[in-house]
Symmetry: C2
Subunit: 210 residues, 2 copies
């Protein structure tokens, strides 16, 4: 993916295997992409490095021919090993200065920002996009900061030039409000991962966004 | 460290913060090195990437001027970020082919082998040393394979040319037997980490080894 292809940020799927209703990650992702997901972030918090690498390789094999970028959460080594399109780093992950040096200028680096200060810092340090987290309160992550809300997102939009992706509690009913408040895209977890039909769920959200 | 400096494998300290009796890792490691530890492996299983990186940076600052190699357990990204001397990879960590490509030929790669087959494979794939794990049964790791024993170690020694480091249940009373059975070094966790004086504990084991 070209780093300038910001429309690929429009609808992120962030994976969470615990929500996949027993389906494999590849199966859910394949459906979700068929439904209009433009970017996939592989997030694994409770598996070995080798399992993480294997999942990443499977997703890369699926997504690369479709031109859908694959972004790895947290683990720069996994991203390097498989040649992922990018990494997404939280405030407890590797600082961007190290990550950029290891990954090079061609790799997307997204940073989770839980405040305006985080967002300004990430932009200044060379992030390619910022994940505004959480926009709404969310059941799928328990360690998050208080919700920023649409007003918090608007405030950050006024001060930050690089693309913003909203995450946290985003679903069919509120996705378009997040875009209206200034985000370039939304990232969705349970609204697609846990849907009976990830494809239909993605299609519906994608329609809302356009 | 030069990769040929195999005597640095003689007495590894493998860290485990949960055993450090409230002391900082830097404090325990500093004492242990003063007592004769020749190599330090930083193992962190329950902290964020950023915390792991910070611990690794602190240890590197301590160890580099002393010429004591720092080896990072599992995380190739941490090793790359701080410029560690090596990584130690288990059978559930990144496969050596990926790790070598990312780390280059100058970086030590140690592989944990729980059987002769693992050891032969690691040697064939270009490992710099093999951790024979566990030699004895151990309370500090709960997910290990059955103990190989001194006989298992001897068997591997007969078939494998690269350096072997015994790990698992090794302490003052049995360290010299591990060397006598053919190991080039021993790796110690609780016998140093949990000692009232890590320095004296390291000194005593080091004397046994020489």
């Amino acid at each position: 993916m070209s780093k300038s292809a910001n429309n690929s940020l429009l609808l992120h799927l962030v994976t969470d295997r615990s929500l996949s209703l027993g389906r494999s990650l590849v199966e859910v992702v394949q459906e979700a992409v068929a439904g209009g997901v433009t970017c996939v972030q592989l997030r694994e918090k409770d598996c070995s490095t080798r399992q993480f690498l294997q999942e990443a390789e499977l997703l890369k094999k699926l997504l690369r021919p479709l031109g859908v970028p694959l972004i790895i959460n947290d683990r720069v080594d996994i991203a390097l090993a498989i040649g992922a399109d990018g990494v997404h780093l939280g405030q407890s992950d590797m600082p961007i200065c190290h990550a950029r040096r290891l990954l090079g200028p061609g790799c997307l680096i997204g940073i989770s920002a839980e405040s305006l200060d985080h967002a300004l810092e990430a932009e200044q340090q060379g992030a390619d996009y910022i994940g505004i987290s959480p926009v709404f309160s969310t059941p799928t992550k328990t360690d998050t900061a208080p919700a920023l809300g649409l007003d918090g997102l608007r405030l950050i939009r006024e001060r930050v030039q690089i693309p913003l992706v909203g995450i946290g509690g985003i679903n069919l009913t509120n996705a378009s409000q997040v875009i209206a408040a200034g985000a370039d895209g939304v990232a969705v977890v349970s609204a697609i991962m846990a849907a009976e039909s990830p494809r239909q769920a993605a299609e519906a959200i994608r329609r809302e966004l356009e």
